[in-house]
Amino acid sequence: MTGRVVARAGSFAIAPHRVAAMVLRHWYLLTSSWPRLLELIYWPALQLITWGFSQTYISQNAGFFARAGGTFIGAVMLWDILFRGQLGFSMSFLEEMWSRNLGNLMMSPLKVSEFVASLMVMSVIRLMIGVIPMTVLAIAFFGFNLYGLGLALVAFFCNLIFTSWSVGLIASGLVLRNGLGAEGLAWTLMFGLMPLTCVYYPVTVLPSWLQALAWCLPPTYVFEGMRALLGERVYRSDLMMEALALNLVLLAVAIGVFAVLLRSARINGSLVQTGE
């Protein structure tokens, strides 16, 4: 049934000019609103500085943390890629709900696949605006060069952004189906994954039954990979490939869930009433 639903939700062929039009729409919005731009930079920078100084203090007093190098700072930055990527996706979607523009878009030739593609592009743009200043601060304050991870960073980034899009798609679908009363999910859904993805501690810390669950989530592989790279100087390509495979499954599930929620929104009239 899901396959039929997905097919009805819209073909996957994408017209770049319509995706570009939507990206332009959000670019106009970002550049017209300094608070929106500041918000993108403010929180990641604050978080980095707080955790960075915490790590500096702890590493001076504990042997393990001294050996762990930039593990904490790295975890903070990679978590922000994951969280901010999802938030960038969901916020761009919510902007359409807040401005009551969704009806205009749904009645335009913009396909669902193009709308989703534009949200993906915007999530990367918003992420870059927030993360690039953070990486500069990390170098300046803590001597931690994220770009020094080289190709590993590309693998980390791609896997995290794929997961963020999947979670963003599900959060957006829930808001589409249930109205703005559900917008809190866009802010909090990712935090539900935080304990299981083992951002700040190794998977082995979890009870064995929870470890099995943790290994079902792609970010777990990324954070384990990051600890292996920074702690043991080993790049675990096997972990990255497993994360990629899981991400493909997760993205397919998220597309299916979004399609079902969109169909449900058409049935219960949520697209006409986009309030609470």
Binding site: G10, N104, L271
Partner: protein, 262 residues
Amino acid sequence: MTSPRPPATQDPAPLPGAAIEVERLVKVYKTTRAVDGISFRIGRGSVTGLLGGNGAGKTTTIAMIMGLVRPTSGRVRVLGCVMPDESEKVLGRMNFESPYVDMPMRLTVRQNLNVFGRLYAVSDVRARIAELAAEFDLGEFLDRPSGKLSSGQKTRVALAKALINKPELLLLDEPTASLDPDTADWVRARLESFRKATGATILLASHNMLEVERLCDRVIIMKRGRIEDDDSPAAIMQRYNRDTLEEVFLDVARGRTVAAAS
């Protein structure tokens, strides 16, 4: 009471010359039957008014025609395509304006029209915006944020957006709601000139009977999800023995039948 509409055809093929075909359309929200088995066909190039009191089912009907709401049963075809399943094939040839949607408030009028022009693949967006700015007198606020416009200015911008792709089919949901009489009259004149120039089909839902009399060559009156009457404004007024559509509207709203009214 008028005779019921003829039964919908069993033939799934689209009728030639029809811009909109609605067949035995039903929409049920939980326990509420918002639209109850209506059928009608709107020919290309016509202007049709959809009338009815609050809760008559007009907005739900238009939403199903636009593909925003999936019918519980029955079928809607727009320009030959079944909605919402084939909406992607036809949405570029139609457009709409409604007081229930807005354009992004922080974007200027020009930016909004630019975005929608690109979404509709208008070949020369800049030239089209200039045309619309001249036609709808948008020049003085073209570079002002849309959220800082008056109601009248917002309506003009919404209409400019609705015409940006020169649609074959234009759906209007209360296009002059909350406008002063002068601006409303101005909007009606623009719609008339657009229709004359392009031969577009227009379906409009309205509570303004003068507007409907002036613009429409056909009127569909809805009540409690059903069609109460469907004819030209003149024929309907004659049938109810009334001088204005407003009087007919009141007759229908208060349950007075054709026989009682006459």
